[in-house]
């Protein structure tokens, strides 16, 4: 054993093995999510729902879930999340663990002629103030077949942000996010988030850790794609491996590398353009707080721009 340790020590000194840095995952709010995101049942039938808890380190954890459903006359739920349909109508199924909760709608129908699902499609989910978009609702029965004829009612969860009229025309009125729902025969659709961003977010680069970064960053939706641009006077310190990230942390290089999205390497000062959507189709204009200039290999932030 001594000989092995001695040999290992010599190899470590002479060979320079690549070691491991153990770090904690970045802290995030705990999250609970019911799956599936909606349920439709015939009276008397059952379906099991599950709830996935993601802890404050972003790791899925098996935890005891407290289930609840109301009104009780429409459906019931067992301690294991099995939902039983009792009478036609729509109920709210809730799951809770610790301080996290989630809920979905459970639709109970008496037969195949009734509306069980309502889907909403919008022409544009990211709008600038003053822009309009169109929402269309489609009703389906318990088997997924389209049901026609029902009157559609539209609602927005935040009228000062998005206004929706009886025809499903959306008007962006203020910066923020609003969910738009369609209701047909008392059955709610899933909420569709409409982001009103004023079209762009702007930040000024600040230096970090003694390195230099200056200039402006603009994150904007251009022709439906999220694009990040730097101003002509953008300047930064450079190292081998200087990368641009979008992130919600501006201090820890390892956190930025782990939870942020990497847009690419830069080797020169001046204007740059990054098509965010091209590599990250699900990225949104409101998703990140910071644009980071990061020495990626050493995990040192050289500077950041807070997006306003």
């Amino acid at each position: 054993m001594v000989g092995r340790n001695l040999t290992s020590g010599i190899i470590l000194i002479l060979g320079g093995c690549i070691g491991t840095d153990l770090v904690d995952d970045p802290m995030v709010p705990g999250q609970l999510e019911i799956q599936p995101d909606r349920i439709a049942l015939l009276v008397g039938s059952m379906e099991e729902a599950s709830a996935v808890y993601t802890n404050t380190f972003g790791v899925v954890e098996n935890v005891p879930i407290a289930w609840n459903i109301g009104p009780a006359t429409t459906a019931s739920v067992s301690p294991n999340g099995v939902v039983t349909a009792k009478a036609p109508g729509q109920a709210l199924l809730s799951a809770a663990y610790s301080s996290t909760t989630d809920s979905i709608r459970v639709t109970v129908v008496a037969n195949e002629a009734e509306v069980a699902f309502v889907d909403v499609a919008v022409s544009e989910a990211s709008l600038s103030v003053g822009e309009t978009a169109t929402a269309v609702a489609t009703s389906k029965n318990i088997n997924g077949a389209e049901v026609t004829g029902g009157a559609v009612q539209w609602i927005s969860t935040d009228g000062p942000v998005v206004e929706v009229d009886a025809a499903g025309t959306l008007l962006a009125k203020g910066i923020g996010v609003a969910d738009v729902y369609a209701i047909v025969d008392g059955v709610y659709s899933l909420g569709v988030p409409i982001i009103v961003g004023g079209g762009k977010r702007v930040g000024t680069f600040q230096s970090a850790n003694g390195y230099n970064a200056s200039g402006m960053a603009v994150l904007a939706v251009v022709n439906g794609e999220l694009v990040l641009t730097f101003s002509d006077d953008f300047m930064t310190s450079f190292a081998l491996g200087t990368f641009i990230y979008l992130a919600n942390d501006n201090v820890s290089g390892t956190t930025i590398r782990n939870e942020g999205i990497e847009l690419g390497e830069i080797t020169t000062n001046g204007a740059h353009t990054f098509n965010v959507t091209q590599n990250f189709p699900n990225a949104t204009i409101s998703q990140f707080q910071y644009v980071i200039v990061l020495c990626k290999p050493a995990s040192i932030p050289f500077g950041y721009a807070q997006l306003n």
């Binding site: 972003g58 390892t254 080797t267």
Partner: protein
């Protein structure tokens, strides 16, 4: 007196992250004609923190630097000594990052090559006096690589040819087995790197077969480099540090000995904030 001073050597690392000081073996004493000092050394730095440009300590992904080197001094005459430092194997590593809770892993990296080397000559200006003085010209040869590994940040050299002029003064307290040296140096760096002023002192004693030495090395950037330093320069330009070190030498025979050393930058900028550990075996002619 050479038996006291031959061992006073700390290997040079004028490479990215830790520009250790060129601490010549003889101080103010040149080697006698036909005499020499040759050392096979191994140094290691493993750093998870870095002194940034303002001196602030910054957390970094752990970087390892392993240098296997040959150092030699040879007396061509009683006044002229040739000096060579050749790090023939330098390995730079970047740790992988593993997140405890999720198990997510960001891969590490490694790169090996010959490192930046030095060649020089020392001239005994004042010899045979209570205080001896030597002057040296040391040329830094950019034999190392400035961009290596998959991450491309790993380096075994800074890519610039530097010339250093150095003056050493030494004194022996004979018959007491104690000696001391001081030096000043000017390091002219090229490729827009800032020049450097260097200072140092050391105090040593020979206690039978052991020779412990305390050293203090200071590097001050003149901050006169250009703004268009190569991209590798953001870490290796304008390097400054205040670094005490200790070294212990053991004389196995009259010609052979072993040494160990530890150096740390108590303050600095653009330098790894971690100890530089060294071991070596030396031969005296």
């Amino acid at each position: 007196m050479p038996n006291l001073i031959d061992m006073k050597k700390l290997p040079l690392l004028t490479i990215l992250y830790f520009a250790a000081q060129f601490c010549q073996a003889g101080g103010g004493w040149p080697q006698p004609k036909g005499g020499g000092y040759f050392k096979l050394g191994q140094n290691m730095i493993l750093a998870s923190t870095f002194y940034g440009p303002t001196g602030k300590v910054v957390d970094i992904t752990t970087i390892g630097l392993y240098t296997t080197s040959l150092y030699g001094e040879y007396g061509f005459t009683d006044r002229i000594t040739g000096i060579v430092y050749f790090p023939f194997f330098v390995r730079s590593t970047l740790n992988k990052i593993k997140f405890r809770q999720s198990g997510t892993v960001i891969p590490g990296d490694g790169f090996s090559s010959v490192g930046d080397s030095e060649i020089g000559v020392k001239y005994g200006v004042v010899t045979g006096k209570p205080i001896v003085v030597s002057a040296s010209l040391i040329l830094g040869l950019p034999l190392g690589k400035t961009s290596g590994g998959e991450s491309r940040i790993l380096q075994t050299g800074d890519g610039e040819f530097n010339q250093m002029v150095r003056v050493d003064a030494s004194h022996s307290f004979y018959p007491k087995p104690i000696f001391t040296s001081v030096y000043v140096a000017f390091n002219n760096r090229t490729k827009n790197f800032s020049d450097e002023a260097r200072f140092g002192l050391e105090l040593g004693a020979t206690l039978k077969k052991f020779t412990p030495i305390f050293k203090l090395n200071v590097v001050q950037s003149l901050d006169n480099g250009g703004t268009a330093v190569a991209r590798n320069g953001v870490f290796s330009n304008n390097t400054e540090y205040f670094s005490p070190s200790v070294e212990l030498n053991y004389e196995v025979t009259g010609h052979l000995g072993l040494s160990g050393s530890a150096a740390f930058a108590f303050s600095g900028q653009n330098i790894l904030a971690a100890p530089n550990w060294g071991v070596g075996a030396y031969l005296k002619l």
